[in-house]
């Protein structure tokens, strides 16, 4: 079976809960309690958004958020914003290593936060485009949008683990 794609204005989405949406397909049925999930949470953030029902079954895929009607776009953006917390690290402020426990304190777009990294070799990934994805000991993820554009102090701290 092939996935159904939503290209642009053939669907209207309205926000009905923290992450829940109502999906009205103009040529078809209406779905309640729909949730938007990113198919590529790490790489692309505005493309290929899957819409699933409360059972987790996919109804359709949005090709690109930008082509939706403005109201629908806003609804999906808000729903995604509530579902995905994927802080962007702006600066690495400090690093502490005590008996194998590595703790980073970072400044993100969501505020200052400290977290532990379990295994620096598997949990810090540098992608080909220069982004860095970091997983902490509790399975939360953080992103550095461009490693090369970080300030020198952050790079100096990070080099301990990279």
């Amino acid at each position: 079976m092939q996935s159904i794609y939503i290209n642009g204005d053939e669907a209207r989405l309205t926000r009905t809960g923290l992450t829940e949406l109502k999906l009205e397909l103009f040529n078809g049925p209406t779905y309640e309690h729909v949730e938007a999930l990113r198919l590529f949470p790490v790489s692309g953030t505005r493309q290929y958004i899957s819409l699933v029902d409360s059972e987790g079954k996919e109804i359709a895929i949005i090709r690109n958020l930008d082509y939706l009607m403005p109201d629908s776009m806003k609804a999906v953006e808000e729903s995604l914003g509530a579902y995905y917390i994927f802080p962007k690290i702006k600066r690495v402020l400090a690093r502490k290593e005590k008996y194998g426990n590595i703790t980073w304190t970072v400044e993100t777009d969501r505020g200052i936060h400290s977290f532990d990294i379990r295994n620096t070799s598997t949990d810090i990934k540098v992608l080909y485009d220069g982004r860095v994805i970091i997983k902490d000991s509790n399975d939360n993820r953080y992103e550095i949008e461009s490693y090369d554009n970080l300030d020198s102090n952050s790079i100096k701290i990070m080099k301990n683990d990279m």
């Binding site: 194998g100 426990n101 703790t103 505020g111 936060h113 939360n140 993820r141 990279m162």
Partner: protein
């Protein structure tokens, strides 16, 4: 008990939030409170979810957020919703409205889940005390911080490395050091002797230069040479003996440590392996132990001999000339500083080299064994390019480290040389003017002592780094040695005869407490009955079997064998009574014979052959020229999937188990082999209680009863005929599969035509 309420996971940072909470609480008695690490907006900050006597209160540090209070009585369902990077409580009220309470990162999911469980228990007959007690344990376990200093712990219940004092860690190591104490002490003594002897030659040089050569005493020259010869001989003989003793002790220490670790690793529950990668366990057993060994030797040996050397040299130097001694101490601060900086600088490089190297080797292990895929998709060039890129990165880092490790030591020794030049200059001047007690010989020997002196200095300067890394290794090793082994509470309880009645009573289970994999399983299987378990992937089939095999024991409810709780039966005995044929048949690198006899090492040859016969394995084993002596490679290289499967069936038959578990035994084979295996299984099943997990319904033809599992619950249970009549899920599955078979048959027909 009231005194200890509310149970709290962490402090509230802002007094305003605390005030807001207290104000809203009023007279409500707070039972427990989850201080979340996110604001309701999703930014870092704090929000609080407080469970009181009558309901749930949620406040946020932002004033724009209006506090919410929901009474338990109004809540239809309380859920914990795990999202990406955060989680929330969702309260569905009876009037249909939905409330979001509290928001936290995944660090707190365990606590939130405990909160949901607490709410669910409220509706049942479980007392509040009991419910709170389990909340308390969850809080204690999940708030993974040292109760004394608040530092995070590596796992719940672990000793805090900071507080439990380094002494305690070292104390644990003593167990391994003590048996070798004799050897270690004698080797320290030997090393002190050799150090003492090494102090002699410079002094002899002084005598030679100052007294003997000027006085042209040839006999004395010979005597001094002979004396030096014997000194050198003693030194090296002593060093050799010490080396042998030390090696022997060190190897024994690491041997014991490794054996204990391996033994412990065998006994750790599956829970431990779910959380820790097997690679890291292997690493701890192989490299952390050697790391520790070298540290133990260093601390018990080098520290003494180097200290002795340093003190000895200083005493000799001062006795010779205190002014020159002070002069030679000038470079010491620099050496200490430089070697510490060097150690700090170079360490990350080693780590990075290691990391880059593991990237290179991971490409190696990916592409060489998968060479067929690489070739089949014409990907040689891309594979090579990927490899070259990583390889080049490795080179860059390695060269940098190489540069550093070439420059730094040379700078240090240059400074040391400068120090001796200073002594040469000042000392030399003094000798020429002759107005002090410095003679030529004294100067020469002094220079030798100075250069010997810098060795211990840089040793002690670098000691802290070794100490730190050894502590890390110790901690990682202790993590295994101190971990709870599998719980064998029924040790020694071996019932004489197992009939094979299996019962599950109200069994619920979840791996990580976030989602129940099995919920309220109730099931009775009579002795000798075979039950087929059907369900989609992820429905909980394998988990059910894992619980029965006692891989996990933290489930709710009870599992009984012949009416006895399986937790109360001796673990070894219990498992010997349960045969297990896995989905992927694992083989050890050993002979076929030993692989079959794995569960019964003292089996006779004929028993093994007969088991192989029953499993339809004998005929193909015979075809190998080494027959039963064929040595299998890793994961059974050299055998096809079906052959491995039959060997693992033979393994299970040989043990003559009372209960048999077959986990999709025929999943990866062609239909002809399937028939052979099926045949083998039919022999095996006779008279034994059997649980069969299967995708292919043809496998289940022998089953007396079928159980359909859906989302962790038993959806249908009964004889195949009953279920067919019921026209439920099983009926649907049969229809789908027979349709698929029909299509297959038709296609085959077409091809024949």
């Amino acid at each position: 008990m009231d005194l200890l309420l509310p149970i709290v996971n962490t402090k509230i940072n802002k007094p305003e939030l605390e005030n807001k909470l207290n104000e809203k609480l009023g007279d409500e008695r707070e039972l427990f409170r989850i201080v979340c690490d996110l604001k309701m907006s999703g930014d870092y900050g704090q929000s609080v979810v407080s469970f009181t006597d009558s309901g749930i209160l949620c406040v946020d540090e932002e004033d724009s957020f209006e506090p919410i209070f929901v009474k338990y009585d109004d809540i239809e369902e309380l859920k914990f919703k795990r999202m990406y990077g955060n989680a929330v409580f969702v309260a569905n009220k009876k009037d249909g409205s939905v409330f979001i309470l509290g928001r936290a990162t995944h660090a707190l999911t365990g606590l939130m889940n405990a909160g949901v469980q607490f709410f669910e228990k409220k509706g049942t007959d479980i007392s509040e005390e009991e419910a709170l007690e389990s909340i308390r344990t969850t809080f204690n376990n999940l708030v993974c911080a040292c109760p004394k200093c608040g530092r995070p712990l590596i796992r719940p219940g672990a000793d805090c490395i900071n507080c439990a004092s380094k002494g305690k860690l070292i104390h644990k190591l003593l167990k391994y050091v003590t048996p070798e104490l004799k050897g270690l002490i004698s080797s320290v003594l030997l090393s002190i002797i050799s150090t003492a002897v090494s102090l002699i030659p410079p002094y002899a040089t002084k005598m030679l230069v100052d007294d003997i050569i000027p006085s042209k005493n040839k006999v004395m020259v010979l005597m001094i040479v002979v004396f030096l010869l014997s000194a050198y001989a003693t030194q090296h003989i002593v060093l050799a003996i010490r080396g042998i003793i030390l090696r022997r002790c060190g190897d024994r220490i690491v041997e014991h440590l490794r054996s204990d670790l391996f033994d412990k690793a065998q006994r750790l529950p599956m829970r431990f392996y779910d959380k820790t990668s097997t690679g890291s366990v292997i690493n701890r057993i192989s490299s952390d132990t050697s790391n520790l060994q070298s540290f133990i030797l260093r601390i018990t040996q080098e520290v003494f001999s180097q200290a002795f050397l340093a003190v000895g040299i200083v005493i000799i130097m001062i006795s010779m000339n205190w002014k020159l001694t002070l002069l030679s101490l000038i470079p010491v601060p620099f050496i200490v500083f430089a070697s510490r900086t060097f150690g700090k600088r170079i360490r990350p490089y080693y780590r990075r080299i290691w990391r880059k190297w593991s990237a290179v080797s991971s490409i190696l292990t990916d592409s060489i064994p998968c060479i067929r895929v690489v070739k089949a998709f014409a990907n040689e060039a891309r594979a090579a390019a990927k490899f070259n890129k990583q390889n080049a990165e490795w080179r860059r880092v390695s060269t940098k480290a190489g540069t550093m490790s070439s420059i730094f030591p040379n700078i240090i020794s240059f400074v040391v040389t400068c120090g001796s030049l200073l002594i040469w200059y000042i000392g030399g001047n003094s000798v020429i003017t002759g107005n002090s007690e410095i003679s030529t010989g004294l100067l020469v020997s002094f220079i030798s002592y100075t250069s010997m002196f810098y060795g211990p200095i840089s040793f002690f300067a670098g000691l802290n780094d070794t100490y730190q890394s050894a502590l890390t290794s110790t901690e990682r090793i202790m993590d295994i040695l101190d971990a709870e082994p599998e719980n064998d509470s029924g040790k020694g309880n071996c019932p004489e005869y197992i009939k094979g009645k299996v019962e599950f009573k109200h069994v619920s289970f979840s791996y990580d407490k976030s989602k129940n994999i099995l919920s309220n399983i109730n099931l009775t299987i009579e002795p000798g009955e075979s039950v087929g378990i059907v369900g989609t992937t992820g429905s909980g089939k394998t988990t059910l079997v894992n619980l029965f095999l006692r891989f996990y024991d933290n489930y709710e409810g009870t599992i009984l064998l012949d009416g006895v709780d399986i937790k109360k039966i001796d673990m070894g005995f219990f498992r010997s009574q349960v045969g297990y044929v896995q989905q992927e048949a694992m083989m050890f690198s050993d002979t076929i014979f030993n692989n079959i006899a794995y569960g019964k090492p003292n089996a006779s040859i004929e028993e093994v052959i007969s088991a192989a016969n029953v499993a339809n394995a004998h005929s193909f084993i015979m075809k190998h020229s080494d027959a039963y002596d064929t040595i299998l490679g890793e994961r059974g290289v050299g055998l096809s999937g079906g052959e491995r499967q039959r060997i693992s069936i033979a393994r299970a038959i040989l043990n003559n188990p009372r209960v048999l578990i077959l986990d999709e035994a025929t999943s990866a084979v062609d239909s002809e082999t399937e028939k052979l295996i099926q045949d083998a299984i039919n022999h095996l099943v006779k008279g034994r209680t059997t649980l069969m997990i299967a995708h292919r319904l043809s496998t289940l033809k022998q089953a007396d009863k079928i159980m359909v599992i859906d989302k962790g619950r038993i959806a249908e249970f009964g004889t195949p005929e009953e279920l067919m009549e019921k026209k439920g899920k099983y009926y649907k599955l049969v229809m789908i599969q027979s349709m698929a078979d029909q299509v297959k048959l038709e296609k085959e027909k077409e091809r024949l035509e």
